[in-house]
């Protein structure tokens, strides 16, 4: 599974926990639209910290930056470019 697909799959599981089975695209708003909640954001943050090495303590946490698959992906890319 490619890395972006891992994020999609993780978000699908988070949505399923909220009994939300609706499809979502890479540009679908998930947090600001209310489909996911703040506690999901921290579960996602832990997932990104553990699997993608994102350091939110250094970058700061902004819900807008994890609102869509594409936003998360650009955050991951930015984080890895900071490391190198």
């Amino acid at each position: 599974m490619d890395r972006k697909a891992e994020i999609r799959e993780f978000l699908r599981i988070l949505l399923a926990r909220r009994r939300d089975e609706k499809a979502f695209s890479d540009e679908t708003s998930l947090f600001l639209s209310g489909r996911l909640q703040s506690v999901d954001a921290v579960v996602l943050a832990v997932f990104l910290e553990e699997n993608f090495g994102v350091d939110f303590a250094a970058m700061g946490f902004d819900q807008e930056r994890v609102d869509t698959v594409n936003a998360i992906w650009s955050l991951v890319e930015e984080s890895s470019s900071l490391e190198h």
Partner: protein, 475 residues
């Protein structure tokens, strides 16, 4: 018997259920292509504004100013955020000049300059202590200022001036916090646009409606069609607020307190505090009635504000959304007063979670939840009522807040446990999976509300005494 009659008999139960499930008192007009197209025409916009104006006339005493600003913002969608700032500044002049006991325009002007300076400083010196922790610094600074002001001798002009300014600063404190949080965004708005979120003209309390500039950027209508959807949803929400308001004032209150003779919760609580006996079931009845009344009142009020925000072209989420359908304590907190919960999450929950206890697993979530639901909650409410601190002094006022502090600790514990359990619970039957959780959650909040009135400063023992009355344990 005919086939048709058979069909008619075979259909009802599931047919009726699906009809009831899909039934909407107010239809989803924003999904009707013809309505959507009409709402994008000039006549359509005028009609929408006219209908909204009638609703405002019913619900809002300042409806003329509000509908005028909404008309301007509808006519100039390309300048929406600028109009929002200008409208909000005009609104602020109205509030601080005309709608308070005496004009405080100078204090507001100084406060806006101070907010601009803080914003500029945090932007320019991102790696300084203040730049890295702007919200924590702002809140600490405000708390220290209140502490110092409460120690100034009574009757001194400096004390009067300080409290006048702090009252205004307190009103904008959380708007400033959102502005400072926005600095970390990739597309941070300039301060001129941030000002549009400082108690916007559509209404606000100390809790910014609807959050800050970052949220407005995300929910702003980007096309004529999106604007039409937002405005149609705004009109629907205002209509819903009016229906709820009518229900509350013309049905709920007269039936509960008139026909059924259930006394007001405040009166029963006072009886308990004065050691006057009353039947336990009256205690329950007044408590439940008060809980439902406050829920309805909050819905009406919040819907009115969000409706105007939507009419201005921002598709904001509702403030209150079916809280009684919540199956967990955390879900109820999210649905009951969304923008307050978001404020606590943005200012306390995320910063704690992202910075501290990173190696402590579940304690990390627990600490963040306590920071938001307990510490942040107490901080917000304690510093919202500055008159009380001014009157009693800082430390006595804090002691007087014991009942609310207890409320927030139990609330945070409940949310923490609910978050931990949420991951384990699987769907079960309707009775166990839906009815029991919904009733348990509502009961938890209803009983906890005995301690959760920040404006009533009874000692905590009076809350426990009332609780004992409910179980017929107090004399």
């Amino acid at each position: 018997m005919t086939d048709a009659a058979d069909d008619g008999r075979a259909m009802p139960v599931s047919g009726l259920l699906s009809f009831l499930r899909g039934f909407r008192l107010i239809p989803r007009i924003e999904t009707y292509p013809r309505v959507l197209a009409f709402a994008q025409t000039i006549i359509g916009k005028v009609t929408l504004l006219g209908a909204f104006g009638i609703g405002l006339w019913y619900t809002n005493p300042h409806w003329q100013t509000l509908i005028f600003l909404l008309a301007v913002i509808t006519a100039l969608p390309q300048y929406r955020r600028i109009v929002l700032t200008i409208g909000t500044l005009l609104w602020a002049c109205g509030i601080w000049w005309r709608w308070v006991d005496y004009p405080r325009l100078v204090q507001v002007a100084i406060l806006f300059i101070l907010a601009a300076l803080l914003f500029w400083f945090a932007t320019l010196f991102r790696n300084s202590w203040f730049g890295r922790r702007p919200v924590a610094s702002l809140l600490t600074g405000f708390a220290l200022a209140v502490l110092l002001a409460s120690d100034l001798p009574r009757g001194e002009p400096l004390r009067t001036v300080s409290w006048d300014f702090l009252t205004v600063a307190g009103a904008y404190l959380w708007c400033m916090a959102y502005s400072l949080l926005d600095i970390k965004s990739k597309r941070c708005d300039p301060f001129s646009l941030q000002l549009g979120t400082y108690r916007p003209f559509w209404g606000s309390t100390h809790t910014p409606f609807v959050k800050g500039a970052a949220y407005l950027r995300r929910i702003e209508a980007q096309s004529a069609e999106q604007l039409a959807v937002a405005q149609l949803k705004g009109l629907k929400l205002l209509l819903w607020a009016m229906i709820l308001d009518l229900f509350l004032r013309k049905a709920f209150l007269p039936v509960v307190h008139g026909y059924m003779g259930i006394p007001l919760y405040e009166d029963v609580f006072e009886q308990s505090a004065l050691r006057i006996g009353f039947p336990w079931y009256l205690g329950w009845a007044s408590l439940i009635a008060d809980f439902l009344e406050k829920l309805l009142g909050l819905s009406v009020w919040g819907h009115g504000i969000v409706a105007s925000c939507r009419m201005a072209g921002f598709l904001a989420l509702r403030n209150t959304y079916r809280p009684l359908a919540s199956r967990s304590i955390a879900e109820f907190w999210n649905r009951y007063y969304y923008y307050f919960k978001e404020l606590m999450v943005d200012c306390f929950f995320y910063p704690t979670f992202m910075r501290y206890f990173k190696q402590r697993g579940r304690w990390r979530l627990f600490a963040a939840t306590f920071a938001a639901a307990s510490f942040g909650n107490v901080f917000y409410h304690f510093f919202s009522d500055l008159n009380y601190i001014e009157e009693l002094g800082f430390w006595r006022a804090l002691v007087g807040f014991q009942s609310y502090i207890f409320y927030t600790i139990i609330l945070a514990l409940g949310i923490s446990i609910s978050q931990a359990r949420e991951r384990k619970i699987k769907d079960s039957s309707w009775f166990r999976g839906r009815l029991i959780p919904v009733l348990s959650v509502s009961s938890f909040y209803c009983v906890l509300s005995i301690f959760g009135h920040p404006e009533k400063r009874y000692p905590i023992r009076e809350g426990f005494r009332f609780l004992a009355h409910l179980f017929n344990l107090a004399s």
